[in-house]
């Protein structure tokens, strides 16, 4: 994966995010909207947890046979008249897409939402080669106008508010009446619909991602609500699907298991408005649809994860539930991570794709509360994997000196239980008294980074161990 330098600056980014009032306002909506909707959707499907087990089992089996299923998918896609390309890394994937665009004499490329396109920086490559790239997903379109990257994997513009979008539209759509009013969100949606409608017809190439690839049928699947992905792939002369290797599932029935979990975990919907299965170009008698269909299978680090401590993360279906429920994401938003994939999934995936050295802060951006794993539809043990990264960070001496000394200091006491209990007993007492009965501190020396944004809870007068010993008597 192409490295996003901002991942190195995570602590600084966090500081800025916490001070950004607009961002804080929009983030409050994430924790409310997505979290509540998912909880309702889960409650309405009693088999939800058994489906999670089944999905985990299915994806483990698929990964265990990945070479075979990829070959099967390739054959089935070719049988339907499609072309299958293999890209080892981001550069190769860019080049494959550029070559197809050049062969098509393309000028305009329309695009549906795709995280792997972000990962390989496809827009940049296309634009540098003179193509006009039109993002057609509303959220992606908004951030394209703002020259930003997505801050959430399913809601890319979740950090932008209505007022900002209105300003962006007035600048970008300068051909429209400057006195028009945007009374509500729907007027903004209508305007984007109107502006983009024409672009679908003008585009020579339409690029979409894939939520799944089905080995049995050779189909790529997109799961969407807006319908932009369908217009993108149906109206352009050439449809290119870009997908990472692990998107493959064996059969249509396995796809059903994923579909029963995906939308419920992502937005809380039982199903999205559109789920589209595509294979090959338009058929001989079809009056519409693309004349060419290409699938670019992208490795970009995935094959190295097989057989490693991080294989399980390849089960991810990119629902975004882990970030919606993450207290760190809820506090700082997606951009602070400085990586394409934010939140807990990014904390595990980004170091795997582009090295722990430049991304060492990400696995540390966790309170280890475990909510990410608890809500993950694919039961990915995200905290365990973050811990693996922390261990590697420590082994490679990437941990800051202060933290290493701090850990050594703590280890000294932890290895001497009597001394540990004695010191913690006294420290607790002192801290408890210093809180003057309030039970919390609004300021603490050496901990101002914490107390600037929230109170630090004061400990009880006695330690857990003393209470345990006392109550057992």
């Amino acid at each position: 994966m192409i490295q996003h330098p901002a991942a190195k600056n995570f602590p600084k980014n966090v500081d800025q995010a916490l001070k950004n009032e607009t961002l804080q306002g929009t983030l409050r909506q994430v924790s409310g909207g997505f979290v509540d909707s998912r909880a309702t959707a889960r409650a309405n499907l009693p088999e939800f947890d058994s489906l999670r087990d089944a999905a985990r089992y299915m994806k483990n089996h698929t990964l265990q046979h990945l070479d075979l299923y990829l070959e099967e998918f390739e054959q089935a896609a070719k049988n339907a008249g499609g072309h299958v390309h293999w890209a080892e890394n981001a550069k190769d994937a860019q080049q494959i897409v550029l070559d197809i665009c050049a062969d098509t004499n393309a000028k305009i490329v329309s695009k549906g939402k795709s995280m792997v396109a972000e990962e390989i920086e496809l827009n940049k490559a296309l634009e540098e080669n003179g193509y006009e790239v039109v993002e057609t997903d509303l959220g992606e379109y908004i951030i394209q106008l703002r020259n930003e990257t997505p801050s959430h994997i399913i809601a890319p513009a979740v950090h932008v508010n209505k007022k900002q979008i209105e300003q962006d539209f007035r600048i970008a759509h300068s051909h429209l009446d400057p006195d028009r009013s945007f009374v509500d969100s729907s007027s903004l949606v209508r305007e984007a619909r109107h502006v983009l409608r024409e672009k679908y017809f003008l585009a020579d190439v339409g690029i979409t991602g894939a939520n799944m690839l089905i080995a049995e049928t050779g189909q790529s699947v997109i799961v969407t609500n807006e319908g932009n992905g369908d217009l993108t792939q149906s109206l352009a002369r050439v449809h290119i699907v870009i997908a990472s290797l692990e998107k493959v599932v064996p059969t249509l029935d396995d796809a059903s298991t994923v579909l029963r979990l995906l939308a419920r975990s992502a937005t809380g919907q039982p199903i999205t408005a559109y789920t589209t299965f595509s294979s090959g170009p338009r058929r001989a008698s079809d009056p519409d649809g693309p004349e060419e269909y290409h699938v670019v299978l992208i490795d970009n680090g995935r094959s190295k994860m097989l057989g490693s401590d991080f294989q399980d993360v390849l089960r991810c279906i990119r629902c975004g539930a882990c970030m919606n429920h993450c207290p760190v994401y809820q506090a700082v938003g997606g951009h602070a991570y400085g990586s394409v994939y934010p939140g807990p999934i990014g904390a595990v995936l980004t170091p795997a794709l582009s090295g722990v050295e430049d991304n060492k802060h990400l696995p540390n951006a966790s309170t280890f509360c475990g909510r990410c794993e608890a809500v993950c539809p694919m039961r990915i043990p995200l905290p365990k994997m973050m811990r693996h990264w922390r261990e590697r960070e420590f082994e490679q001496h990437l941990t800051p000196a202060a933290m290493r000394y701090g850990l050594r200091f703590w280890a000294f006491f932890a290895e001497r239980p009597k001394l540990y209990h004695f010191c913690t007993r006294w420290a607790n007492r002192v801290m408890h008294m210093s809180a003057r009965g309030k039970g919390r501190f609004s300021y603490l020396p050496f901990a101002s980074a914490w107390t600037r944004y929230r109170d630090m809870p004061a400990p009880e007068a006695t330690t857990f161990q003393s209470q345990w010993a006392k109550n057992r008597k």
Partner: protein, 221 residues
């Protein structure tokens, strides 16, 4: 060695050879691995009711018809109620082309830039989520599903399956190999602006279903 071969070699290397494989690929296909939820196992009239409830929940609307013969008049009424001109775009679908459309301006072909109303024929549906399955092809051009501001769809009650599994079986059995299989559940929507739900993002602003009730003579179970 090609990129393809190198990638597959790396995958095999990562997996440590085939010894680690638990279930063989062909065994996998023969077995059912996931539970089919109770909501995907309804039968008879209960199934139709569940389908219509779910379809409405996803912001779809519907009218019931006794036969396809009623379709032109019902469509005309819908267009009137929605303040849309008496004009519709459709494909050369046999279930439509035999009907009397003399009171309406009917054009046949794929979707165009401005398309106030389109009509397509669904292949089947699933009551589990109120989802329609449409197959692209000469009879029902795929662009009609997305370019119509109001998308009208026709379906028979006997074509409503209980869940995904039923839709896949019906499709596999049909032998059709369309370029796209489109599952549509209500009109297009977005919540990309401050998480407020807006209908009519890029696809249809409204989806209206004409359900031809043929279950009196045919049992869907």
């Amino acid at each position: 060695m090609s990129a393809r071969d190198r990638i597959l070699q790396n995958v095999r290397h990562g997996l440590g050879g085939s010894a680690a494989r638990d279930v063989t690929k062909s065994d996998w296909i023969k077995t059912t691995h996931a539970p089919i939820p109770a909501i995907a196992r309804r039968n008879g009239s209960e199934r139709t009711t569940q389908f219509l409830n779910n379809f409405e929940q996803m912001h779809g609307t519907y009218s019931k018809l006794k036969s396809f013969d009623e379709l032109p008049a019902m469509l005309s009424q819908q267009l009137r109620e929605r303040n849309i001109g008496q004009s519709v775009r459709m494909g050369p679908e046999p279930d439509f082309s035999t009907l009397d459309w003399s009171n309406m301006d009917v054009s046949v072909g794929p979707g165009r830039l401005v398309e106030p109303a389109t009509l397509t024929r669904a292949f089947c549906a699933s009551s589990e989520t109120g989802t329609l399955m449409l197959l692209s092809g000469a009879k029902n051009p795929v662009t009609l599903n997305f370019l119509g501001e109001t998308h009208f769809v026709a379906l028979k009650s006997s074509e409503i399956e209980a869940g995904f599994e039923g839709m896949w079986s019906r499709w596999r059995a049909s032998g059709h190999t369309p370029r796209t299989v489109n599952l549509i559940t209500g009109p297009s929507r977005t919540a990309d602006i401050e998480q407020s739900l807006e209908l009519g993002a890029h696809g249809a602003l409204a989806v209206h279903l004409f359900l031809v009730d043929d279950l009196d003579t045919k049992d869907a179970t």
